[in-house]
C-alpha cells in the first residue's frame, strides 16, 4: 500500500482541485479522501506538490529496435519517468519498422522488463512506412498498438490515407499524421522566412504543413475516422483544426514544447535547433500558445527524438531532424503557459494526461478503481536542466543549462514509484 499524503489533487475530469490523500493498493487507486490514516502504508509526503492523473506522451521515438546507439526502451522510458510521464506512445519508425505484430510484441515485452514508464506502441499505417500498401493493423492492434502513424513521413498518397482511415475507423483506432507536403519541403532544413534567407538555409514554407492538414480533414469528412495531427506548428494548421472541430469532425492535435517555446529566430547553425516541423515564426508561436489556452490543442506531446552526438555534430544541413524532450516538457509548459498566466494548472494537467488519453479513446482520472498511474509535480521547485545528467542516451536538446521553476517530483506507474526526484 502506498499513501500519497497532503498533495493537491488535480483531476480535470471530475473538476477536483483539493488537498486530498490518495491510497494505492496494488496497481489501483483504492481511496481518495482527505485526512486518510492507514496503518502499514508506505507514505509519500506530497504537501506543496500536485498529484495528477499520469502524464501520457502521445509522440516519442524510443529508437529500439535498430537505433540503440541513440536510445533504448530502457533509457527512453527512464527519461520519460524523469519527465513525469507514466506512459509514452512510441512511433513506429524503428529499424525494422513497427509494421507487424512481432515487432509490436517485442517492443511491449522489452518495455515490461524495463519497469519504468509504460510503452504504448504506435503501429505503422503502411508497410515499412513506405506509403504504398496498408500494414497489418488489426494484428498489431491485438499485440498492443494504440494508434497508427507513418510518422517521420506523411502519408503522402491520399488514396492510401483514405484506405487507412476507413480501416482504422472500423477498428476504432486513431490515425496520427505527420502533416507535410514533401514537394514543398525538398531540401529544407528550417522554416522559410526572413531568418532562413539571412542564414542561407533552405526553408520550407508554413503552407507545407497546413496544406496536408486541409487535405487530411477533408478525408476525415469522407471516412469519419478519428485523425490526430502530430506536432502541429503553424497558425494556419491550427485554424484548420479549429474549423474541423467546429464542424464536428473527430480531429485532434498536439503541440510540442519546443514549438511553443522557441521560434525560427532562435535558429542559427546549432543542429540542436533543427527539427521537423521546423521552429515556426513568432506569429505561429503566439497562435500555438493561444490554442493551448483556448482548448483547440488537445495535448502537449514531446516528439522526443534522440540522436547520438555523432549524428548531430555535423553541418546543419546534414544533421537529422529532432530534439529530446521528455525531461524538459513539463518545466517548459509551466514556464510558457502557467507562470505567464495563460492557463491554469488544471488545464496544464489536462494537456498532459486527460487530453492525450481522450485522443487514444481512454480515460485518466484520480478516482477509486482507476489504474494507479500518477504524476506528482511541483509548480515552484527551482532547478537547472543539464543534458549531461539526462537519463536519455542522447544529448540533443536546445535547453541544456536552462533554469526552470517547476518540475516533476515523482512518477507512479502501476502503483509503484518508478522515479522520485
Amino acid at each position: 500500500m502506498l499513501l500519497i499524503r497532503n498533495g493537491r489533487v488535480i483531476d480535470p475530469t471530475s473538476g477536483t482541485d483539493a488537498q486530498l490523500d490518495v491510497l494505492v493498493e496494488g496497481e489501483r487507486i483504492a481511496r481518495v479522501e482527505a485526512g486518510l490514516d492507514v496503518q502499514g502504508a508506505e507514505v509519500f509526503e506530497a504537501s506543496g506538490l500536485i498529484v495528477a492523473p499520469g502524464f501520457i506522451d502521445l509522440h516519442c521515438h524510443l529508437r529500439e529496435p535498430g537505433g540503440e546507439s541513440s536510445e533504448t526502451i530502457a533509457t527512453g522510458t527512464r527519461a520519460a519517468a524523469r519527465g513525469g510521464f507514466t506512459a509514452v506512445c512510441a512511433m513506429p519508425n524503428t529499424r525494422p519498422v513497427n509494421d507487424n505484430a512481432s515487432v509490436t510484441r517485442a517492443i511491449v515485452e522489452r518495455a515490461e522488463t524495463a519497469e519504468m514508464a509504460r510503452v504504448w506502441p504506435i503501429g505503422a499505417a503502411s508497410k515499412e512506412s513506405k506509403g504504398e500498401t496498408i500494414a497489418e493493423i488489426a494484428a498489431m492492434q491485438k499485440a498492443g498498438i494504440v494508434a497508427v502513424s507513418d510518422d517521420g513521413q506523411p502519408i503522402a498518397n491520399a488514396k492510401l490515407l483514405r484506405q487507412v482511415m476507413d480501416y482504422c475507423r472500423s477498428l476504432g483506432l486513431v490515425v496520427i499524421d505527420h502533416c507535410e507536403d514533401l514537394s514543398l519541403a525538398v531540401g529544407a532544413v528550417m522554416r522559410e522566412g526572413p531568418r532562413s534567407a539571412r542564414l542561407g538555409h533552405a526553408g520550407m514554407p508554413a503552407a507545407a504543413e497546413s496544406i496536408a492538414v486541409a487535405r487530411d480533414s477533408q478525408l476525415v469528412e469522407l471516412t469519419g475516422c478519428r485523425l490526430h495531427v502530430a506536432h502541429l506548428s503553424t497558425q494556419k494548421s491550427l485554424e484548420l483544426v479549429r474549423d474541423a472541430k467546429r464542424a464536428g469532425l473527430p480531429v485532434s492535435c498536439e503541440v510540442t514544447p519546443h514549438h511553443f517555446t522557441l521560434t525560427d529566430e532562435d535558429v542559427g547553425y546549432d543542429t540542436h535547433y533543427k527539427m521537423n516541423p521546423p521552429l515556426a515564426s513568432r506569429e505561429d508561436q503566439e497562435a500555438l500558445l493561444a490554442g493551448l489556452a483556448d482548448g483547440t490543442v488537445d495535448a502537449i506531446a514531446t516528439d522526443h527524438a534522440p540522436h547520438e552526438p555523432a549524428l548531430k555534430e555535423v553541418e546543419f544541413d546534414r544533421a537529422p531532424f529532432g530534439v529530446t524532450g521528455f525531461e524538459t516538457a513539463l518545466a517548459l509548459a509551466l514556464e510558457q503557459l502557467v507562470h505567464t498566466g495563460r492557463i491554469t494548472l488544471s488545464r496544464l494537467v489536462e494537456l498532459f494526461s486527460t487530453g492525450p488519453a481522450r485522443v487514444l479513446g481512454i480515460e485518466r482520472r484520480v478516482a477509486v478503481g482507476q489504474p494507479a498511474d500518477l504524476t506528482i509535480f511541483s509548480a515552484e521547485h527551482e532547478w537547472t536542466f543539464r543534458a549531461a545528467e539526462s537519463a536519455s542516451k542522447s544529448r540533443n536538446t536546445p535547453f541544456d543549462g536552462r533554469r526552470f521553476r517547476g518540475a516533476p517530483m515523482a512518477t507512479i506507474v502501476r502503483g509503484r514509484v518508478v522515479w522520485k526526484r
Binding site: 525538398v186 531540401g187 522559410e192 522566412g193 526572413p194 532562413s196 534567407a197 539571412r198 542564414l199 542561407g200 538555409h201 533552405a202 542559427g268 547553425y269 555523432a310 555534430e313 555535423v314 553541418e315 546543419f316 544541413d317 546534414r318
Partner: protein, 326 residues
Amino acid sequence: MPHHFNHMLGIEPLTAEQITFILDQAKALQEIQQHPLKKLATLRGKSAALAFFEPSTRTRISFATAAARLGADTMNLQAEASSLRKGESLLDTVRTLDAMKPDCIVMRHSSSGAPHFVAERIAVPVINAGDGTHEHPTQALLDALTIRDRRGSLEGLSVTILGDVLHSRVARSNIHLLGKFGCRFALCGPAMWLPRELESLAPLGSAIRRVSRVEEALEGADVVIVLRVQQERHHEPALPLDEYVLLYQLTPERLQRAHPNALVLHPGPMLRGLEIDPAVADGPQSCVLEQVTNGLAVRMALLLMLMLGTPADAIDVVKGASHAAD
C-alpha cells in the same frame, strides 16, 4: 589602431569601421601586386590550411597566392582527394588538419554555417571562403575595394544585383557590406529567386527593392553586380536558361539605363552569353579583372591580420618589407 579579429566568418557581424580598416589594409597591399618581387617574408614559418570541401579554382588559387606572397606555406585539402569520400565527418577532418598546427584555416564548404561550426570547435582562426548559400566575405571585400578604388567612396551608391539572389552567398555578403555604407539595392531576377524575405536583409540605413524588369532595375545604377547562374545549387531546374537570357542577361543596351560610369562586377566564373553579354564583360565598365587582382590584396590583408598573432598594420608591413629571397 589595428582591429583584432578572431575569425572572418561573414560580413554581417562587422561594423562599417571594421570594414574600412580591412579595406585600408588591403589598399596598402595592392602595390605589392605591381612590384617585380612580389613576395614578403612577413609570415615566413607560418602555414595556412586551405580546406576546400567544395570545388573551387579561383578562390583557392587566390588564397594560395596571397599566402605565398606573405611568405606563408599552405596545406591543401580538396574534397575530391580527401577522406571525406570515405565517410569521415567534417569535424574529424578538420581536427586532423588542426593537429598539423596550421596558423589559420581557410575553408569553403557547400553547407551554410560550416565554417561557424568549425570555428566553435577549434582554436585557430577560420576564414570563410564561401559557405553554402550564406556568405562569401572575401568576395564582398574585394568587390568593395574595387568599387572604392573607382568611385572614391562606398557611401550611398545605387547598386543593382542581377540574378539568383536567393542562392547567392556573394549577393548576401555584398548586401551586408555595401548596406552598412548606406547603399540602396535593386534586386532583379526570376521571381522564384527573389523571395520578399530578402528585403529584410537590408542593414539599417539601407533599403532593398525587388524589381522584376531588368531595365527598371538598372535605371541610374552606380554599380551592377551580375551573379552567375548557379545551376548546381538549385534542387531542381527552376527556369529554362533561354528564358533567363531573354529576360535578365546584361546587354550593352540594357546597361545604357545605368549611370554612364556605372561599374559592372561579376564574381566569376562568368558564363558569357548567359548572364552577361561578352561585349559588357569585355567593355570599359567591366571590373572583372581588377576584382581578381584586388582579391589577392584583400586575402593577404586578412591572412596577415589573422595569422600574425599580434595585431599588425599592413601599411607598416609593406613599408618595412624585406622581400623574401626564396
